[in-house]
């Protein structure tokens, strides 16, 4: 079985701003949600402790606002996603509906985990990001276009220069970020390698 590998050349959608530097993965998804058996339900718990009080009363947070509910592009500030390497953080964001993140900078492991999900992490300088956050605030229904290949972010009548890490850009644009699909397409070669190993009994093998 082979599968078409998905490429991510651009992401288009409305935005949601989350302001502040050094937002760590504990804030994105608190540790107590790690004791779960699937990532499925994580979307609803994203930013849980900054969105809700201990008594489950909603606090002031963009992810609680109706006007941002359909947003797919998250706009953040510096060092977003620092702290624990938990893959649950990008999983929770993705499942909430985020398809791309634009920010001043990202923690390295977090960006890597995003890539494994096909979520681009695109950077631009502080002034541009702040302007974009303001725009999104005022125009929650306006479309934002993140062009991964061209390394630009367009909104309203503006186009700003952005940066996408080289390896990340190649992986997304050429569709090699999804190692599962990529390796699955080599199933025949895998079966051959397996068959060449003395400890694999003849006749055993996968669904090549």
């Amino acid at each position: 079985m082979t599968e078409d590998v998905e490429t991510v050349e651009r992401v288009t959608g409305t935005g949601v701003p989350v302001r502040g530097n050094d937002i760590d993965t504990d804030q994105i998804i608190p540790a107590r949600f790690l004791k779960v058996v699937t990532f499925d339900g994580l979307g609803q718990f994203v930013f849980q402790d900054v969105r809700f009080t201990d008594d489950d009363e909603p606090k002031d947070h963009p992810f609680n606002e109706d006007r941002f509910r359909d947003a797919s592009i998250l706009v953040v500030n510096a060092n977003f996603g620092c702290g624990s390497s938990r893959e649950h953080a990008p999983q929770a964001l993705k499942r909430w509906g985020i398809d791309a993140i634009v920010g001043e900078s990202f923690a390295e492991i977090f960006a890597g985990n995003c890539l494994a999900l096909g979520v681009p992490t695109v950077t631009a300088d502080q002034a541009e990001i702040e302007a974009l956050q303001e725009f999104v605030d005022e125009n929650p229904d306006a479309e934002i276009d993140v062009d991964v290949d061209d390394e630009t972010v367009s909104y309203g009548d503006r186009e700003i220069d952005a940066t996408v890490d080289d390896a990340q850009r190649r992986a997304l644009v050429e569709g090699v970020w999804d190692t599962t699909a990529l390796m699955k397409s080599n199933a025949e070669a895998v079966a051959e390698t397996a068959a060449s190993l003395p400890y694999i009994e003849a006749g055993a093998g996968g669904d090549a």
Binding site: T179, Y199, G206, D207
Partner: protein, 473 residues
């Protein structure tokens, strides 16, 4: 770049292709699965409508969350959900499962070897950092993350970058009372917890050769604490003798003879090239215990705890914080450090010979009044074998709690946890703050006989000062 080492040979035999990302795609000979890291990966597979490609190369167990006293279902809280999820996943995929009802359940890194699943010249992966343990058999074994587990389930392969190989040669004969655990604690103390980053370790030399398989496993187990993703020992007669007795070959000596030439062929060549080599004089070692909150903060039992300012600059801060947490002073030795809990268990040191040696220290003595002491065998089989020899009686009579198999207090994900600022003499592998279930808890890592000695004396003790009693089977 290394050449002609076991690492190079096994890598090449398993390499399918080089991916566009620059990584190599490797076939996985054995995929071990436990309840904590696998459910998300099975979920992702389901989401994409994919099936497990090589269920017959996959084996599951339950270890982290299992209670070690009462195995009645349902387990408490989230543990039950994780257990039933695993049951469903393995049933659907047709994966063999060493669950508690089989008598084969245990810590994943104990049951793989004891059932003969782990063999020389294999690639072994598991969503668990201590997968390096299986390297003791001359397998290439590494821990992987959740997305990689998904990859392995879906394709039978994993994407990896090749590392450098460092040969760690431990020469000489280990002294009386000095064990494999002391050797690895010393290696990590010398090279640092990040000293192995970018490397795979090949453990060699007379002291390593003379170790039994359990000792080799203790060493390979903690490769990860030294920063190396994997570590291995070349297979030899000791390895083959062990394998011969396992489920895999016990009734199939022909298969054993068929595979042996392959096992012999993957050993490192005499003129193999290494990227680095470190030599340690094994005969000069004393039992090593940790004084701090990383496995690299170890010290010989008679040696003074170092002053932070005498350490390399990047280690000073951690050392200061560690000494504050542990309440130890530079210049003191660890001998005499009061202990509240003794934990004999974990995938580092809870196999039959570990328990036997500890029992010889315990026999005829009593656990100190201020200490709660427990033995948690690494697997149900280890437990049963120990009971056949009467070791359970020896421990019980001395006042130890004799429990069921699992990870238990190694990480405190089940109900076995430290309370408050209790200090624990532990045969496990990690002394991080909070690791054993309490943020104020204090963990002192040591070999299993030293744990036994600490339990008896109520303080960290040089086991060489306690004469042993023969324990008759």
């Amino acid at each position: 770049m290394s050449e002609g080492t076991l690492y190079d040979k096994v890598w090449d035999r398993h390499k399918v292709t080089t991916l566009p990302t620059g990584q190599d795609q490797l076939f996985v000979g054995l995929h071990l699965v436990h309840e904590v890291t696998s459910p998300q990966a099975f979920g992702m597979l389901r989401e994409r409508d994919m099936e497990v490609a090589y269920p017959e190369r996959t084996h599951a167990t339950v270890d982290h969350i299992v209670p070690t006293d009462d195995l009645d279902r349902p387990f408490e809280g989230a543990a039950e959900e994780m257990m039933s999820q695993l049951e469903e996943n393995v049933r659907e995929a047709g994966i063999e499962f060493s669950h508690p009802g089989t008598g084969d359940q245990g810590i994943v890194h104990v049951i793989g070897p004891e059932q003969g699943l782990t063999q020389p010249g294999m690639t072994v992966v598991c969503g668990d950092s201590h997968t390096s343990t299986h390297g003791a058999f001359g397998a290439l074994a590494f821990g992987i993350g959740t997305s990689q587990i998904r990859d392995v389930l879906a394709t039978g392969t994993v994407a990896m970058e090749k590392k450098d190989v460092r040969r760690v040669r431990v020469d000489g004969e280990l002294g009386e009372g000095v064990e494999a655990k002391d050797v690895i604690l010393e290696i990590i103390r010398r090279l640092g917890t990040d000293g192995g980053v970018g490397y795979v370790y090949e453990y060699a030399g007379e002291a390593i050769r003379n170790l039994d398989m359990e000792g080799r496993m203790s060493i390979c187990n903690m490769s990860i604490e030294g920063g190396a993703r994997a570590g291995y020992v070349e297979p030899d007669e000791t390895t083959y003798e062990w394998l011969r007795e396992t489920d895999a070959f016990e009734d199939d000596p022909e298969r054993f003879e068929e595979l042996k030439p392959y096992w012999e062929s993957i050993a490192s060549d005499d003129d193999a090239e290494y990227d680095d080599e470190v030599v340690i004089d094994g005969s000069a070692l004393d039992p090593v215990v940790t004084w701090g909150t990383t496995p690299g903060q170890g010290v010989g039992i008679d040696d003074p705890i170092p002053a932070p300012e005498d350490l390399p600059e990047d280690k000073q801060d951690t050392a200061r914080r560690a000494q504050e947490h542990m309440r130890v002073e530079p210049g003191e030795t660890m001998a005499g450090y009061p202990i509240d809990v003794a934990f004999l268990g974990s995938c580092t040191n809870a196999r039959l010979p570990d328990l036997r040696r500890a029992a010889r220290v315990v026999a005829g003595r009593e656990v100190h009044d201020d200490v709660r002491a427990m033995v948690v065998p690494g697997s149900q089989r280890v437990k049963a074998a120990a009971e056949r020899e009467g070791l359970d009686e020896v421990f019980r009579e001395a006042g130890f709690d004799w429990r069921g198999a699992g990870c238990s207090m190694c990480l405190g994900m089940n109900p076995d946890q430290l309370e408050g600022d209790e200090a624990c003499a532990s045969s496990s592998n990690r002394n991080f703050v909070g690791r054993q279930g309490s943020k104020e808890g204090r963990t002192v890592l040591m070999n299993p006989r030293m744990v036994a000695a600490a339990a008896i004396e109520g303080e960290v003790t040089d086991v060489r000062d306690l004469p042993e009693t023969e324990v008759k089977a």
